[in-house]
Symmetry: C2
Amino acid sequence: MLAHVYIEDLHRHVGEEVTLKGWIYGKRSSGKLHFLQVRDGTGIVQCVASKADLGDEPFARADKLAHETSLTIDGTVREDKRSPLGVELHVKGFTVFAEPTREYPISPKDHGTAFLMDNRHLWLRSKRQVAILRIRAEIIKAIRNYFDSRGFTLLDAPIFTPAACEGTSSLFEVNYFDDKAYLTQSGQLYGEAGAMALGKVYVFGPTFRAEKSKTRRHLTEFWMVEPEVAWLDLDGDMDLAEDLLVEVVAQVLKNRRAELQIIERDLTKLENVKKPFPRIRYEEAIALLQRKGKDCKFGDDFGADEETAISEEFDRPVMIHRYPSSIKSFYMKRDPEDPRTALCVDVIAPEGYGEIIGGSQREDDLALLEARLDEHKLPRESFEWYLDLRRYGSVPHAGFGLGVERTVAWLCGLHHVRETIPFPRMMEKITP
Amino acid sequence: MLAHVYIEDLHRHVGEEVTLKGWIYGKRSSGKLHFLQVRDGTGIVQCVASKADLGDEPFARADKLAHETSLTIDGTVREDKRSPLGVELHVKGFTVFAEPTREYPISPKDHGTAFLMDNRHLWLRSKRQVAILRIRAEIIKAIRNYFDSRGFTLLDAPIFTPAACEGTSSLFEVNYFDDKAYLTQSGQLYGEAGAMALGKVYVFGPTFRAEKSKTRRHLTEFWMVEPEVAWLDLDGDMDLAEDLLVEVVAQVLKNRRAELQIIERDLTKLENVKKPFPRIRYEEAIALLQRKGKDCKFGDDFGADEETAISEEFDRPVMIHRYPSSIKSFYMKRDPEDPRTALCVDVIAPEGYGEIIGGSQREDDLALLEARLDEHKLPRESFEWYLDLRRYGSVPHAGFGLGVERTVAWLCGLHHVRETIPFPRMMEKITP
């Protein structure tokens, strides 16, 4: 029996006989030769079948192999400079494991999005979706490697929470035995407890928002990474966000260049993502928007339109800091030099991909934090444990949340976030 | 300003003046010298303060620093062979950031578990809990590194699911806009779709079971890693599980030995975890239990008692394969050589820590799988997409699920899983 080799590893076996295991992805024939496109999840390789090598009956059968037929193929790896892989396979023989029981529903022709979403479990097999999912996995690996190699401890925050971090309107309610629980919207408060115990932590898990919005940037279930660091201030927080993004983009460009080319991403846009990122105050952003003819003033929050307008002015992510505290969360520390504003930062991706990071220095003063809870009409008793973090050895600390799906959308150049995750969950879609 | 150095890095700065940032963890005094134990999340170091170095007033103040006072300390790193870190700090000066506003509730004396669980956000700061959380993070890193470095693609399965994978009795129901959704119990079915697209995948995320059990092995929310591989059979699945566990244990022993020693884990037990693991058939396990005087017969499932009795016979994890299909899930492939049994495997941890892995080769035949769905009275329409995986290029495939918390309990030697995760969720506990 020959060794089973994955397509992405074939180039290391030139001249050898190997076994491929995969699925038929396409086929053409010159009459004397059949050219089978075979995929195995790591790549797509051309397999050349000749009557001389296969014999009459298998050669005829090879011409009839339907899309998504599963099979094993024995053959010799040959160098082929025209192939993106640098190799092709000369077929010695093949064994079909299973033929499709029906015609495969996804053809190279255009399908509507609703149809593809209903067949998401099959759509995932397409060259483009495979490339996106491999880039997604690389992004997540790069994020984890970044924190793991810098002394951060992963802290898994709970998914079931007894109360809302930021209001209750967008919470999913769960029947929890004879009680109610809510799905987490952010692991940050738990991350803060973790930072007081472990110094530097990152929370990485799914988060949930029951927002009744059907935009191309919203999922009800999305993954977020949330570092939290004791003894860090806003400037340090911005340095951390900048350094993380630069590293992640560099690792994806290094390890997933082929996949980025498959999806035809403009690499020059990603190669711009270098330090330093522009850091502008909220008020500068307002002035910028006003110069561009937008009707906005101090106190306004930015929506997708404003974020896009701002991102047009820069060739890399832009950091906007010190928003009015009135439009930001209760836990953000006020700027002592301008108490109207909070020590916070949003990072806006280039090319109109919107906000990918939101972060802040946290309020570390017990009395001020208690006052904020009251201002925001949040129930004090639910936050007693959180207040304890200020009662017992409070320290300056900061962190941020990076949305994984928006980051994937940006790096892959995807218009809609639904393609950034294997099985997207939206207001009207929880199948398959 | 001196460089901020974390305690775990101090040994690389012997002879240098540095700044520590942390919390008071303990204190004793000889009158002429105060010995402050300071923690920063990466370790605990002894800081030696003398009146000569500090002056009268600061020296007197150092003697009054309460547990969990947050402070920065400047000092010189000195070699100290008696310290587990190999160093101590000779204090030049310190600045208190915040004193506790109340006496810290957790003292070195024994507290009841209920009290500690209610103060989990503070309990995390203790030396033992910090060690466990650092080991947990190392285990997760080791698992991810294992798969990432072997050509697996991470596949994030959805948390919201429309139907149950294995019955509905232990599902958490969520109010999903005007409809119902359920929290995932396993990402496996989605992992199978991923394996058909990407070849080798692993799902890694939180899973949920609404079981009304209050044992020391059950959480309502727990993390699971679930590899799924196209073209893999049961033997290959067992090889994969064995190889993963050996690698994870080796990496934890290498990188977290100090933490294992803090929690007084018997390292010789972990050093036994080498290949090959014993692989016994279910019927051999039944015979073994009968020899040990247990009342059991073919068709019985194993509970905690049986798992413990089996584990006592081995010095490493034991793999039990080919259980009766009647007690296993619908998707498991029957053994063609004995159709009473399924091509499945459970891995039982040593020392009575119970089942840590459950896996199987999956049924790849459409008609047989349809029949199983009917036998298990599962609604066919919910599984149409899953059946598609057999309609379009079905392949032999296999995978397993490894429970993270039980693995942490085993490697750390913890009696109860509640200490294996930062904020455990149990039937009667979802706070803090």
